[in-house]
């Protein structure tokens, strides 16, 4: 497991696109500015969708970690 701490973790494993990104957007809505949300996704498309959305929305992808069979993408809310 990773060292990076997240205030909130969204488990979107098993969800088809655009599920993981929408789950992340929902979680970002709910946390305070500066908080980190961890998205767990096993959909490769998330590796593209999440950084693109973060760029667009001004939020920051702080880490992308590869676990056994999924990704853990950490996003800090601007």
């Amino acid at each position: 497991m990773s060292e990076t701490q997240a205030e909130k973790t969204v488990d979107a494993r098993g969800a088809a696109c655009p599920g993981p990104l929408m789950d992340l957007v929902g979680a970002i809505r709910e946390v305070d500015s500066g908080s980190v949300v961890a998205l767990l996704s096993d959909n490769d498309q998330s590796l593209v969708d999440v950084p693109e959305w973060a760029d667009e929305s001004g939020n920051e992808v702080v880490a992308t970690e590869e676990e056994d069979d999924y990704y853990r993408i950490l996003v800090r809310k601007a």
Partner: protein
Amino acid sequence: MTREVVIVGGGTGGSVLANDLADRFEAEIDAGDVRVTLVNDSEDHVYKPVWLYVPFGKREPSDGRRPLRDLVDSRVDVVVDRVTDIDTDAQRLTYRDGGGPGRYDKLVLATGSTLAPDEIPGLAGGGHNYYTEEGALALQDELLSFTEGHLVLSVIGSPHMCPAAPLEFVFMADDWFRKRGLRDDIDITYTYPIQRVHGNPHIAEWAEPLMEDRGINVETFFNAEEIDAENGVMTSMEGGELDYDLLVAIPPHRGIDLVEDAGLGDRGWVEVDSETLEAEHADNVYALGDTADAGVPKAGSVAHYQAGVVAQRIASELRDRPATETYDGKTLCFVETGMDAASYVEFDYENPPSPATPSKKLHWAKLAYNESYWLTARGLL
């Protein structure tokens, strides 16, 4: 002892399932060995796709309502009540008015979607929608008197019912205003939360050039943050800002709270195995249709196909046979591309959609389906 099968929700999925089970268990129900109960919180069955046509003055909400008891086999016990609590360990249910069976052997949740406009500040009072009966009627009033300005259709939540319906609305509005000679005075903008115009890349690829041809503006990566109805401005989480004169929004969706309270899944959607439709967090519980989080569209056709799978599985299980039927993700959808043309898509877990060239024939097929829906709900079609 009589085996109790309880279905919560008498919409598309629940009604098709109840009729299918009545058919399969004819002998057992007559002998008192099995009882099938369908619990719905209103007397009427509602066919929501009619609401798309209401704002344009093409249909009345009453076209989408029928008494549930008229649609369901007389072998099924129809209970008009609301389930308020599920205890999945004891396999017991609590009802608002104490109506249905307390115990279940097999429970199927078919409770559909609810709208959650309150999640977006300003949306409840500031946006119109055609996702409820009242919403569709209020929008009809607005649309019929709208002759100039900026119409914005904003998809705020995903997942939402019928992923095609927002596209259909802007295609229909474009054509409707054109036919009435008003299109030059009306701008139409469509917003979508991700980087393309539809969740499914194949449908997005098909729809985007159509929107361009029609002069429908597109704003992607637009997740509404706040609606300022007084000034007619919506802002997005991505820092975008849109002025509007008439806002038609697809509000965030949720399932029902008791699903979360029973530990069956987040946001009121039941976590299920996407093939067997069994709940992940309880035994003897299935979910189908909108409430099942199977990673497929929230569409009536999905609820219909899933009902056939769940019926076969429950029948096998109660007869101590292995349940073999699985859901393959099958989804069918007619997509209106104007007031008298439509496309059609069909896909499943393995095969992506390939939208048909829009035609009048497909439009008539959609209208014909809407009429014959009542036979579908009865289990005849």
